[in-house]
């Protein structure tokens, strides 16, 4: 097992925002966390990454306990985080943004061969053509691609991606979806928070449906299709 989260409890001040969350990600899997707004999906990713400190629980990554580890150390053990807000560096060129993702010798070699600029450009040809443009000159979709690509440059074994298709034009949504499927096929495991059910169902191996601060359903997209009442309970407004 690559990632195991068990009984995770996180608070924002007095509010108990994650109430005993448990989930797993196997090597090579693409797992989706689905749920309405405010259910704690993003907080789950932030807790794993070390951006929010959980009060209790277990987070095992490759058998190592990483709960409470600062974000830079979590990144170094092989977890990459792509935030919802993208957060590219606007004053650096696309190439410099990508190069910033490299951590020579300090990172796990990843699965298969390491990510290089050339390999990134194969998967993200748009970034090659925009190489000398500054970050602020990119469109939303291009920024999203850049954020994912930059995180890949650190050769993560597991990618935590928070709502990558949020606010993108339908055509870009498809591109991002295809890229994520490609990356996953290249051997990178992905834990994805997604609000777009269609996108999530199209690519996930397994799904977790989050209700208020807890996991309400776990299974494959096919299993979910057989339980419309669950879908209604956790996803429909």
């Amino acid at each position: 097992m690559l990632l195991e989260v068990k009984d995770l409890n996180t608070y924002y001040g007095e509010s108990h925002v994650l109430q005993g969350i448990s989930l797993t990600v196997e090597k090579g899997e693409l797992v989706c966390l689905l749920g309405r707004n405010g259910m704690g999906k993003s907080t789950t990713l932030k807790s794993i990454m070390g951006l929010v400190k959980p009060k209790s629980g277990l987070i095992n990554f490759k058998g190592e306990q990483i709960l409470g580890m600062p974000a830079h150390k979590t990144a170094r053990v092989g977890i990459g985080y792509v935030p919802e807000t993208r957060e590219i560096f606007p004053n650096l060129t696309v190439t410099d943004n990508l190069l910033l993702g490299i951590k020579k010798g300090k990172y796990s070699k990843g699965v298969g061969k390491d990510w290089t600029l050339e390999r990134i450009y194969e998967h993200f040809p748009i970034l090659k053509t925009r190489g000398s443009n500054k970050g602020f000159q990119l469109s939303g979709g291009e920024q999203q691609m850049l954020t994912i690509a930059r995180t890949l440059m650190g050769n993560p074994e597991l990618l935590l991606i928070d709502e990558p298709t949020e606010g993108l034009a339908p055509v870009m949504v498809e591109e991002v979806r295809d890229v994520l499927i490609e990356i996953n096929k290249a051997g990178v495991s992905i834990l994805l928070v997604e609000h777009n059910i269609k996108v999530a169902l199209a690519m996930a191996h397994r799904l977790y449906l989050m209700g208020k601060a807890h996991v309400g359903f776990e299974g494959t997209p096919e299993e979910l299709a057989k339980k419309p009442e669950i879908k209604r309970q956790y996803l429909e407004v």
């Binding site: 951006l51 830079h72 990144a75 957060e87 560096f89 004053n91 190069l99 910033l100 993702g101």
Partner: protein, 325 residues
């Protein structure tokens, strides 16, 4: 003509101008040029923190001051202390001070960083003021020997203003070149990224606090060397001359007026401040008042300084050219 050849010719012309300039402008303006070079490199070192890493230091005079005091004290107490030793000891003293304050300063940002640097700067000011036996207090340390440059076959006396100008140009030019090189390295990208989004840098796997501490140490050390050059130039190091708040503010103003968004902005800013000083002092004694007003105008109407203004003019010219076409 190839671009490289063109560049080499420009550099050669620049070098020739630098060499003949003191013989053309006379001793007074040669000394003004030396002061300008010191201010420019001081402003550049402050801008490593401010423009590139997003950290506003109100107490950089502490590094300048400790570099100057280290130079003055060694020249006063050690017979025949060499020139290279002066540069070295200025650098080391500022580096040590930066290593002491960096662990604390690297943990904070924004106003807290500015206030803490101010506090450390003022602390050093008061310490130097009170330890009169060592530092000479307000009177400072003066009258120490200025060592010559040993060139093997001959010694160059740098008490001669023209020689000092050449010496300062080489030392300060190397420091400026080092900083320019630094911002072009991958570490330069990390600095800019910390300024733009420190948390994002953290979860890319970088240690933001360590990086910030390193920038502070580099910036402090460079400022310390400038302090050493100051001590050699003025042959007087006093608390009022090297450690007051104004010593920290002046290069900051230079950086802002020139433009903190570009590497070369602070050099222009330091130059402009000298021109303003020169012109204002002909008509009034209230030079600082005028500088302050200019500073306010820059902050309000040209927040990216002279370089930013130049960029805007260029963009406007380009736009009107396009509209005509």
């Amino acid at each position: 003509m190839s671009g490289k050849l063109k560049l080499t010719i420009y550099w050669l012309i620049g070098l020739i101008i630098v060499i003949i300039l003191p013989h053309v402008i006379g001793i007074v303006y040669t000394n003004v040029l030396v002061t300008f070079m010191m201010d420019a490199v001081f402003a550049l070192s402050i801008n490593l923190l401010l423009g590139f890493t997003g950290l506003l230091s109100f107490g950089h005079a502490m590094f300048f001051g400790i570099g100057a005091y280290a130079a003055a004290l060694s020249l006063t107490h050690i017979q025949g202390f060499p020139l290279i030793g002066v540069i070295f000891i200025s650098a080391i003293s500022a580096l040590l001070l930066a290593c002491i304050v960096a662990p604390l300063l690297a943990r904070v940002t924004g106003t807290a960083f500015a206030m803490l640097t101010l506090a450390f700067g003022q602390l050093l000011y008061v310490i130097c003021l009170k330890f009169r036996e060592i530092t000479g207090g307000e009177d400072g340390i003066a009258g120490y020997d200025t060592p010559p440059i040993h060139l093997g076959f001959t010694n160059v006396d740098i008490t001669d203003p023209t020689n000092f100008y050449y010496f300062a140009f080489v030392v300060l030019g190397l420091l400026a070149f080092f900083m320019w090189w630094l911002v072009k390295t991958p570490f330069g990208s990390v600095m800019i990224s910390i300024r733009d989004n420190a948390q994002r840098v953290e979860y890319l796997g970088y240690r933001v606090k360590h990086s910030k501490a390193l920038v502070l140490i580099i910036s402090g050390t460079v400022t310390g060397i400038v302090g050493g050059v100051y001590a050699l130039f003025h042959n007087l190091v006093s608390t009022d001359g090297v450690l007051t708040i104004f010593v920290s503010f002046y290069p900051l103003m230079g950086a802002y007026i020139g433009g903190i968004a570009s590497f070369f902005g602070p050099i222009f800013g330091a130059g402009l401040l000298h021109v303003f000083d020169e012109l204002t002092s002909r008509y009034t004694e209230r030079v600082d008042l005028v500088n302050g007003l200019i500073f306010i105008l820059v902050v309000m109407y040209a927040p990216y300084g002279a370089v930013g203004l130049w960029w805007s003019i260029k963009a406007w010219l380009f736009k009107s050219k396009l509209q005509k076409a």
